[in-house]
Subunit: 338 residues, 4 copies
């Protein structure tokens, strides 16, 4: 930690800060600048008390951490790229680009199976579909629950696709893990740490969406909860952040691709559907994500978007999805992927 | 709902929209403007399918909802101001201004009881203190758990203060409700709907903090989950939103006071400590909140802020708290409160 | 400046950083932590080259400035509160609370004089009114220009009110200064440094609105342009920042009051009308601003808001303004003002 | 415009709204919904008074515009893609992808000519370089002024590159236009409408950067100021918006590429250097921009980034630039460009 004292701090007030730093287990180191005194507190910031409390002291102007707070998810902890292998052989984070696709909500057997067959044929290897849905209003459709999970399992048997579905409640962790190949933690629960721990403990791969106003460091630290609970199969998923712009539902922050690749060894997935909230922007977003080095896309697809039970505006039709998969090919090749 | 068609939409494409509107249970009503055709879809937007899916249609430019989506929390549902009466006689939302105060985390019996006696003496009637703490990093102090709750209960017996503490997990709902007078739902869980439902079902009053990037409508709808689960004792708590500004930890949005008073009958509480993240700004924030018509303040107080186990920078000392309570008096009087 | 090196940086790469620091005129000072090496660069950051360029070096993890970048506007440069005295005797920043009020745009002699007499009678001492209007669309009313300035001068002669009006163009600086007592720099021009310099050079007091997404440090630095051009009569005006919230037009950041008071000696004015964008929230905002220690309010008032030529939704009627002035009295007293 | 009345509005209050709508030149059209009355006001919203003032009326809940406010920049005004041809033959917005590159500031003849030759050789056809620099602090390097412009002209003569440079002041418009092929309006001046008009009137092509917190509609309307002043050679340039994220200097919003292409006929340029504020993210951003359909890139390049006089952290070295140009080729081909 670096502690910056105010100009004209007395020797006595400086000494008091020094004593406190020692008391909290750090070794102080003084630097006298032209206007201000700066004290370095030497010691591991992750195992000692946080010195930010010193900002309440009148003689202290600022306290600046030096270390990164995340460990296990960091590139320093694991130099190579981590890969996650699913039961159907799909490898996320490897040379082969992975597409996950499916409806926002599981609505019916027909809707799901139609979609599953279509996306499998177009080249997707993972099927997405929500059985438990977090809805802004209590009066909106909340998902089919376990019945939806059973339909997902049926779609897997029929198509060979792996299954990704959202975990909403600690109390469902075992049940959802029984059906799913990947547990999705949604944006609204991205800092619901109890849920992250419950998900990690199932042993299933976890896809962690970025919260609507989550800084990248907070996102990495939320992921740290998964690895710290003995589950190494974590992937990050950018799905747009909340900004002042209202043209799109969220602002998809594609810069997270090179940043996560730089800071972490875990795969990065892009969800362009939530990001834009508009199906007509999805194709361009997908191309950008591929070009920038994403490992995978998570695309919302529906046989009849206009009649979807949730988030119709962002769902791509089966025809558009097949066309999009074709259009992505040269970009996947240009990015050095298969 | 209002559906705006693109300029030069053909009669046939217009008819298709009309048919879909009817199919989804609304009655269409056409208005021809100078450039665009606008269709009103008449029907209760909360009980019919959402027409926003129409935005995926090529001939549709925009879909605009007309109704407000929240019901039970709305001022229209209940014209007067709701009040919440706690077991120790404290009434939140009434003529008397209420102060809730206490440490960020319960750390020890001595720390808690010292604080409790001091804040009670200065005029607070509710004691805050976290036993389960949501922490950005898994390596930070996570709270004393049930031991912390027992200390809070002891402080209540000794001082007569009511207790407010955070509920972090559905699985703790009954246990926390056994000890607490008010269940606090934190900002990170503000759209953890399963937790909101679990809190509502305990029957205890619920204080719902605004999420870091939650729009006011979403906050009201999250509150709707509490009332819709048969718990009328809901209060909203503004604690700052996330913006681009980094001088303060969050931007305390005091405009929520007149807005919540206008849109809802539920009490509004202001948390200036989380809002500013800096103890030196808390006093001014409190005065502003009182003047603008808040029902209550939730202030973080610690006997020795510099040694607090969490969020020291925002904790006010016991001396400053007593001084602040004095300073607030003329503003409380000016606001027509006691 | 503090330069943090990456873990495992070689001695040679460390030496290269040291050489560069010396070359740019600083004296390097090394601190060896448990994981990282930190180098303090000692020297005045405002007169030497910026070391942030070092972040492009592969061995550098982060560069953190230590000094504040603003000087003349800072509380350190001038311990007391600066006051600004206008020709009609109004003192901004003193013991007496100042109210500035008037229409968004000057529309006609009748509209302006009616408003001027009404606000003067209710207790305002400065008249606001735009003669040059920055409008989002080129098809909206752009102001009466010099004709509007002449009407403002006439209103001053008739009522004794001082005049504040917006300066939009460097080329108008002398003309606008001939008529106005205070030059207002609008939010959209808050970092139009050429305009700030032109305004400063007229010698007239300058009111600098905060830009829509301006950090407090940037605002202080924009103010520094005025003082650095030999004009000490600067006041800051908070008028709301842009956030994700859409209920209000902007989010009025009242925490700027204690912050500007802490960091600077210049007066702080609050504009609740632009901040909320809704007349029904203005009264509460004004009370909060007074309670938190603002020096002055800038309120948009119109004889008939529904027929205003610009921004009608945020303009308060003459009757509401008179009522508001009465309601503010106890809060002004509670804040220790007159 | 659509005017939504509050539930339970009396017939009399409804009539009053109808009268006002007529008075302001619109034709009212009533729709009675299940809970609310909605009134459509038929007429051209761009040539009549703005009905948003009605939101100040107590019986009015909301006023919603129906029309888009921009005309000349819109895709509806011009179905094809506009192209801009520079004197050296470069066409922006056509089949050939255009790269603009050069230093943040012009510092010296040697620095500029070295860079110009290098970027020309690597394939750029436009040279960027700031002669007048808008700096957050008055104590930072403000540019070489006209001397810088002369150096740019010299570089053009030697290399055949076209020149783009920033216009900071209305008073420099003619001088800067004498030297430049494209006038750049920077983010801080994006709503400095007087400057936009001055730039338009020179007749030179204008590149309009997006303001830090500018909504897309506002950006299009700012562009409308250029076209409405008889200058059709406008291009938009996304350079990142301000959000809560601090890892990057700004958040580059690549979704603007498909959005500008959908809403407007003007070319779209991406500035990844300002967007990221970090040279190590520039390559990925460029690839994403190409894949998503941008017409051009504006890249900050410097012979020795660590010694740049401004914004060193975001400047790419000559070697990295040449490498990047090679890496972009397969993505340019995949995007169907040359």
């Amino acid at each position: 930690m670096i502690i910056v004292l105010k100009p004209d701090t007395s020797k006595r007030d400086e000494q008091a800060v020094m004593r406190e730093i020692k008391k909290l287990g750090y070794k102080p180191h003084v630097m006298r600048g032209v206007e201000r005194v700066v004290i370095g507190a030497i010691g591991d910031e992750r195992t000692h008390a946080n010195l930010e409390t010193l900002t309440t002291w009148p003689q202290v102007e600022r306290v600046m951490p030096v270390q990164k707070r995340f460990k296990l998810v960091s590139r320093e902890a694991h130099k190579g790229n981590s890969t996650i292998t699913l039961l159907n052989g799909t490898v996320i984070g490897g040379k082969r680009f992975v597409v996950m696709a499916g409806p926002c909500s599981v609505e019916s057997e027909k809707q799901l199976l139609t979609t599953a067959h279509a996306v499998a044929e177009a080249g997707a290897t993972v099927l997405r579909g929500g059985a438990f849905k977090p809805r802004t209003s209590p009066y909106e459709f909340q998902g089919l629950g376990e019945k939806g999970l059973k339909l997902l399992a049926k779609a897997r048997r029929e198509t060979g696709l792996a299954i990704i579905t959202e975990l909403l409640s600690e109390q469902h962790a075992d049940m959802v893990a029984d059906y799913a190949d990947i547990l999705q933690i949604g944006a609204r629960n991205a800092q619901n740490f109890q849920l992250l721990i419950a998900a990690a403990k199932t042993g299933k791969p976890v896809l962690l969406k970025r919260g609507l106003s989550m800084k990248i460091e907070e996102w990495l630290l939320a992921g740290e909860y998964v690895l710290a609970n003995n589950n190494a199969n974590l992937m990050f998923c950018e799905r747009g952040i909340r900004t002042f712009e209202t043209y799109t539902r969220n602002t998809l922050d594609l810069s997270t691709i090179p940043i996560i690749k730089k800071e972490s060894h875990c795969p990065i997935v892009i969800d362009p559907s939530q990001g834009a909230g508009r199906a007509d922007l999805v194709a361009a977003m997908c191309k950008g994500a591929v070009a920038m080095g994403a490992d995978s896309l998570l695309i919302v697809v529906h046989p009849n978007p206009a009649e979807a039970w949730s988030d119709g505006a962002q769902q791509v039709s089966l025809e558009l999805f097949a066309k999009l998969m074709e259009e992505l090919k040269p970009f996947i090749a240009a990015a050095g992927r298969e």
